[in-house]
């Protein structure tokens, strides 16, 4: 453990802003890259289902 | 005109790849001469861009002398890029390109000949005009030979790389901006070695190393770029 207290951990010896900003950007980008394909999948499935239902009605 | 590109190669009569190259080159040069404004526009653009720097930054001779190699190189690069867009456009529009692709002529040679013609009509005049701009930007006299030599070796590479982009975007209506987006990042090494060679010449350092690197890039471009141009044209025309 490199830090003695939680406030020391947050401050990072005055470099807190830089470190936490970097990690926050990383977390955002990783999350976007996982969530956006999942949302797209949901949308694709809904579209396909709608198309299937429409075709069933038409028959 | 178009039949040099599209007719069956008559190998029995001693027609070879070399004669195809010369035939296409002659055709392209002739076409260029008929549209003289196309010839002049990149040169005017070159002069214009270069004269924007003293206006936009500072007319101070010592400052201009410092940035001159970079400014001349960037201006040359941009005007090459500007002229690139039309390289395959007219042939694409009138169907010559499609006929050429259907004919048994090797696309490698046709592409190389077209790029050569393009360089003779833009890169070479740019190189010859560069000393004039260099004088206006107070480039030290020691750098002049270096500038002309690097442009002579560098602009053909620019034409070759640009032609790949032109071939990829020929079928698109708004290819111009896209073309610069595709091609400019690929121009970075040529720009770096070209302008730093001029800088080295000004500082009295030997430039043979830089010229060798530019030559190596040109050699690589001559071998590889026509392959990519041929493939890109085939894709653009069929799509």
């Amino acid at each position: 453990m490199s830090f003695n207290s939680f406030s020391e951990f947050l401050a990072m010896d005055g470099h807190g802003l830089y470190v936490w900003l970097s990690y926050a950007i990383a977390a955002t980008i990783v999350t976007i890259n996982l969530v956006s394909p999942l949302l797209r999948k949901k949308q694709l499935k809904a579209e396909l289902l709608r198309r299937l239902r429409r075709e069933k009605k038409a028959v | 005109m178009a039949d040099t590109l599209t007719k069956e190669p008559d190998y029995s009569a001693g027609r070879s790849v070399g004669s195809l190259y010369w035939a296409v080159l002659r055709r392209e040069l002739l076409l260029f001469f008929r549209r003289r404004s196309d010839l002049l526009n990149p040169l005017v653009f070159f002069l214009l861009v270069a004269s924007l720097f003293p206006l936009g930054v500072s007319p101070d001779p010592t400052f201009l002398a410092q940035v001159a190699p970079g400014v001349v190189w960037v201006a040359a690069l941009l005007s090459t890029l500007l002229s690139m867009d039309g390289l395959f456009r007219s042939d694409f529009d009138d169907g010559t390109l499609e006929q050429t692709l259907l004919s048994p002529q090797p696309m490698f040679v046709v592409g190389l000949a077209k790029v050569s013609a393009h360089w003779i009509m833009t890169g070479l005049p740019l190189t010859l005009l560069a000393p004039l701009i260099a004088v206006m930007l107070f480039l030290p006299a020691d750098g002049m030979a270096g500038l002309v030599l690097t442009l002579l070796l560098g602009t053909p590479t620019l034409s070759l790389i640009g032609a790949i982009g032109a071939a990829l975007t020929v079928g698109l209506r708004k290819g111009g901006v896209l073309l610069s987006l595709l091609v400019l990042p690929l121009y970075v090494p040529v720009l770096i070695f070209g302008s730093s060679a001029v800088q080295a010449a000004i500082n009295g350092l030997p430039v043979s190393g830089h010229l060798a690197l530019l030559g190596a890039m040109l050699a690589l471009g001559v071998v590889m770029a026509p392959l990519a141009i041929g493939a890109a044209l085939r894709i653009s025309v069929s799509g």
Partner: protein, 252 residues
């Protein structure tokens, strides 16, 4: 077909089948999700809490655990995109085109991450938000190459032509990347001699590089997960008229 000589192993032909790909990625996904979560979680905690601070840069050194994996991933992602594009060009394999298309947005975001963390790291180290450091400049040009491929792909309406054109462009870029890297490094030493580079250290002690390695592998696993999710979407979209997709959607 049975009499014909097969040039490639069987799995290579199976890869060409969208349905087989959809099934296999479905089986592989959970493993990679667990691995990515585990490695990234352990790596982050290790990097932030347990790794020692650098004697010169202090705690801002902890940014390396994001910056380096992102930079490595951005480069290998470009390579993967170009190779997949080449396979698509040569064997006319639809799945390879989908892989190449799915690589591009991930590559852009990781390249952006590497640039952003590099710039943030530059502030405490060099005193300014941007320095024309060789690595950062190469990364910037790599980002431009990615954006070019994406722009070309989206400018062409026909999906097949778009994939082929983007593949040619990414291959041209792949040939150029070493030249660009070399020229930028050379240019950098010319203009800024003896600047202090961010990541090149003579010898990193084990307590520093082991968490870095964990993060690198974690980022690769995350890349695999995101890529597979995107490929599955592409397959669903392009095979939406195929029987197996209809059955699967309708059965749920």
């Amino acid at each position: 077909m049975s009499g014909q000589k097969k040039w490639m192993p069987r799995w290579f032909y199976q890869l060409a089948s969208p349905r087989w790909c959809y099934d296999i990625t479905g089986k592989l996904l959970p493993g990679f999700v667990i691995a990515a979560l585990l490695l990234l979680g352990v790596g982050t905690v290790w990097a932030l809490l347990f790794a020692p601070a650098d004697y010169q840069q202090g705690n801002s050194f902890r940014i390396i655990y994001i910056h380096v994996p992102a930079a490595i991933l951005a480069q290998s992602c470009y390579m993967m995109m170009a190779v997949a594009g080449a396979i698509g060009l040569i064997w006319k394999m639809k799945v390879a085109d989908m892989v190449a298309k799915s690589c591009a947005p991930i590559g852009v975001s990781v390249a952006l991450l590497a640039l952003a963390t590099g710039a943030i790291w530059g502030k405490p180290t060099w005193g300014s938000w941007w320095v024309w450091d060789a690595r950062l400049t190469s990364m910037l040009i790599l980002l431009f190459l990615y954006l070019g491929v994406i722009a070309l792909h989206s400018a062409i309406e026909n999906e097949v032509t778009a994939a082929q054109s983007a593949a040619v462009l990414s291959l041209v870029g792949l040939v150029n990347i070493p030249i660009i890297k070399y020229s930028v490094e050379w240019w950098n030493t010319l203009h800024q001699p003896a600047t202090f580079t961010l990541t090149e250290r003579p010898a990193m002690p084990a307590e520093m590089w082991v968490p870095l390695l964990v993060m690198v592998i974690g980022f690769y696993c995350f890349f695999a997960v995101s890529l597979m999710l995107r490929i599955r979407n592409e397959i669903l979209h392009r095979e939406r008229r195929a029987g197996w997709v209809r059955q699967m959607i309708g059965g749920e």
